[in-house]
């Protein structure tokens, strides 16, 4: 596979040209935070960033997505019959995604693309996407990717990986999609040994910087009903506001709602991100609600990520260690502490 080194200026120029073939998304400074945005209308990428506040999951799984459209006009022969909404599945490239967020796509893929059912929207958005990662030279204090099967320089799920060498980027193709992307980028020189050597050193140094310990080794052998009945859930949930920030920011939270919206004599069926933090999420028509208490909803979130998912897929937790929920929870609920409690219970 191709590996090239681009000066930073060359790389920005190359991305500009790649917009001919791809819808190119990259982190753009947006107020105090970075957000993945399409590089259009003069938007400039800024790869000197810790991570985006919102995860890039919305590029494959939009917060709100039209599924179907319909007419409510009785004079139309197809009134009340749902039709597929037109979609743009042309190639898109997400450039500068952190390895934890790429790992997260692989975690949620098991849900959206399973042997029985394929979610056509997620699958087609994902297939049209080329993921160009950016190794983390300086992980944040809230990062714990190495504890949940990841790595600050992990290539897992990526089509290409960028490494910031200071004045330049080393860009390595990892898949055919990544190779095609890199071959479409003009400029750059074949990577030399010095560049590759420096990348190795940066990776080793990044790994060293993640000191936190979040053991997950005993979760699989626990009995789910025992953990469910554990005495600590009310305490864990005590300060929770059920605001849903954690699920909104989480790259591995996938729950959605389906709603119809109408405007005059036409309408759309839309799916929207939803959250297990909200009581309406499970409210029955009868008024019965299996999770009407706050601690039940908080327990559901952690049990799903750290036990039910583990049991269902037998391949690790439903968390990529990005640390967003830790960083942005308004009452400092910390999944790393909850995970320790569950693992030690």
């Amino acid at each position: 596979m191709t590996a090239k080194i681009f000066s930073k200026k060359e790389w920005t120029q190359a991305l500009e040209e790649l917009k001919q073939a791809y819808r190119v998304f990259a982190p753009v400074k947006d107020g105090d935070f970075h957000t993945f945005m399409p590089l259009e209308n003069g938007k400039q990428p800024d790869f000197d960033y810790p991570n985006s506040r919102l995860s890039p999951k919305s590029l494959v799984y939009p917060e709100s997505e039209r599924m179907f459209e319909f007419s409510l006009d009785e004079s139309d022969s197809d009134a009340y019959i749902l039709k597929e909404a037109p979609k743009d599945f042309s190639p898109q490239a997400v450039v500068g995604i952190r390895p934890c967020d790429s790992h997260a796509f692989q975690i949620v893929k098991r849900n959206f693309d399973n042997p029985e059912y394929q979610d056509p929207y997620w699958v087609q958005h994902f297939e049209s996407t080329t993921l160009v990662g950016l190794g983390c030279n300086t992980p944040c204090s809230t990062c714990f990717c190495t504890e949940v099967g990841g790595d600050p320089f992990s290539e897992h799920g990526l089509d290409a990986l960028m490494i910031d060498l200071g004045e330049s980027y080393l860009v390595k193709a990892l898949t055919d999609k990544g190779e095609a992307f890199l071959n479409s980028a003009s400029g750059g020189n074949s990577a030399d040994d010095a560049g590759l050597q420096k990348a190795e050193e940066l990776a080793a140094s990044a790994r060293e910087q993640i000191k936190v310990s979040v053991p997950t080794d005993k979760l699989q052998d626990k009995v789910a009903t025992d953990l469910f009945e554990a005495p600590f859930w009310e305490e864990v949930a005590f300060a929770c506001l059920n605001c849903g920030t954690c699920t909104y920011l989480c790259p591995t939270c996938w729950c959605f709602d389906i709603q119809d919206e109408i405007s005059g004599k036409r309408g759309d069926r839309i799916r929207n991100w939803d959250s297990c933090m909200f009581p309406l999420f499970t409210l029955h028509g009868s008024g019965h609600n299996p999770r009407d208490q706050k601690h039940q909803r908080v327990r559901q979130r952690f049990m799903h990520k750290l036990k039910y998912y583990v049991d269902k897929y037998q391949d690790g937790v439903q968390c990529s260690g990005c640390g967003r929920c830790v960083r942005y929870c308004p009452v400092n609920i910390d999944i790393r502490e909850v995970c320790r409690k569950m693992n030690e219970f």
């Binding site: 319909f70 019959i81 029985e116 059912y117 389906i258 039910y308 049991d311």
Partner: protein
Amino acid sequence: MENPYLPYPVRIDSIVTETEDRNLKTFRFVFINPEDEEKFAYTPGQFAELSIAGKGEIPIGIASSPTEKGFVAFTVNKTGVVTTHLHNMKEGDVMGIRGPLGNWYPWEEMEGKNVVIIGGGFAFTTLRSSIIYMLHPDNRPKFKDITVVYGARNPGMLLYRDELAQWEQRDDMDMHITVDGTDDPDWKYNVGFVPAITEDKITSADNAIATVCGPPIMIRFTQPVLEKLGFPPERIILSLEMRMKCGIGICGRCNIGDQYVCKDGPVFTLAQLKQLPGEY
């Protein structure tokens, strides 16, 4: 790419008001594209999403049997936005059905066994599907004794009253109709709660499987009766309800532990439920 969220267009063929409070109606649907009927091949115990453009979808158990051709039927309780709208629709109106969804009653396991069916209130719909299915001449020889206990609050709240009366007359099944109470002096069936009638009428758990559908309070009091009769949890079958959206185990809201009621259920044995968190 196949889209599992796209409903089949259907037309409402007939509407029957089932109960005296007019809160339960049975809707028969005919597929607008005849080939969709074959694609909608179902087994008793499954459910589907009824879809009304502009209102949304609701998961409802299939009340017709696959042995009944040319239509599918659902009995719907008027509760929320979609069901209230549906109750105001008329014959000939166009809407959608998405499915069939979920698993079904364990028919292979029930073959060669005595089948006990216990239902209460408007949870009798997939049990009606099951009874029609078992009584079909092609299927009846596969099962031994069929015993049904079905109760409602009063005679006017029983579903499928004409069929109940016919089943009562048959000699190839034992039908026990009951009501919690009635002031009708001509009422010729049982009076009493479903658990009590079950205890009275079901005498043996030998080679038998019991399927129970009803309100939570009925299930709670029927379960010890069945256990006393000697039904092990593996041979007590329950069908659960849950708020659902996708119906295919993807949208994430109807889980009990690591099981999704929409895809891994709605039919579970009591033995399976005992392994799961009691969050339903």
